[in-house]
Amino acid sequence: MPLPLPLPKPIREIGRKRINRAPSPLLAVAVPWLVVMAGSLSPMWPVIASAPILPPIGFLMLVAWEQLRPGILPVWAGLPLGLFDDLYSGQPLGSAILLWSIAVILLDFVETRFPWRGFALNWLFASAVITAYLFLAQALAQPGGVGVPLAILPQLGISLLLYPLIARLVALFDRFRLMPVREA
């Protein structure tokens, strides 16, 4: 039985023709940047917190992309992405530029040094990077270093537990990124 309304052509053809199709180069390049930037916008989410509880979503996504697809973000990606994060995060401007740049260089080093990693090792490396990031960001945010490091412990726990979930989400976006949409 035919549908009462003809669906648009791209929708009708989903799953029908996968041969002779190629991913869109625009999507393939832009999606990692956009996903990390969307994560950086988390301070605009409808959560008004009186204590730091929300994990640094943008940073978690950056780490996940670096681990899933090493080299898909250039090694200098910490500069533009960190700048964008600084505009919204409430940290002093420059803190994410510095820490994200160092994190990308570090993850690149880990990639060349320990190329064969499983889930557990990835999580371990990511946990180390996230822990260092949260404590350093806290130190940079409190001028004079008069912070209460204990205040970020709940946030740290949530971040470490959430990381595998973020990595799955990034893997989903990676599939979306490489969806064959364009006629080759």
Partner: protein, 294 residues
Amino acid sequence: MAPTGSRRPGHSRRAQYGTFLNYSLAVAGAAAGGALLLVVASDATAFSGLRGAATDLAAPAGEVGAGARAESQGLLLTLGAYFTKGSRVAQLEREVAQARVRLVEAEALHEENRELRALLKLSQSDPKPIASARLIGSSASSTRRYATLGVGSLQGVAPGMPVVSPLGLVGRVLEVGRSSARVLLITDSQSIIPVRRASDGTVALAVGHPDGTVQLKLQSLGVNPLRAGDAFVTSGSGGLFRPGIPFAVVARPTRDGAIARPLSDPAATDFVIVEPQWDEAGLDSTLPAPAGGQ
């Protein structure tokens, strides 16, 4: 995943230079971040225009989220209220009866206050609010405590203005964009607010804690007179905040003050009000200038 070997691109000089340039840029980026941090450390208001513009761009999305937040919280509260309905209704009725008595007393006091002020020829100047708006976001993943407000310089908001909710003081405006503003919440560690105990006027300074409480530091040394449950309001000294805005309730006394819980939970408030700065609100025009200034 198999090693990609992107660091050693082969014999092509061009590819080798490209790789080298990438790493140089990465290190330069980190250095630039450090330099920016130094600039910001010397001048905290640097780049506030850039941030304001960025927040203006994202503000419409935040407005949508803020509406959803208010609705979902209302729904959850309604659902939760069903489970404790009977006992709560009885308790609330008792409290309403008490509150009615208090209200009459307060009205009498208000009237007396007005007469006394008239005797002293002080003008009753409740500041006219500048704007009311929603909090559309907060720095929930940073240890600094900022919130974003959905009004800006177009609505007359300027840095330094107090932001209050019906429950109490929320913070003060720090940076202003055209249609959004950043609010320094009272729980930020850089926020220092002069307060006094509502019952007897014991003065203290309230410093924010990153974990969502405020620390009260008493001005006078000696035996700590604070007890859990003491209510504090702003004292109005130093300008900026008008006296008598509800502020916090002592949670537990410490050696030289107390840890207090702010009365206004920014997460639970739907709309907040931006008030003019207190020193501009006309107090100094009705009072004689303090003697012995310079």
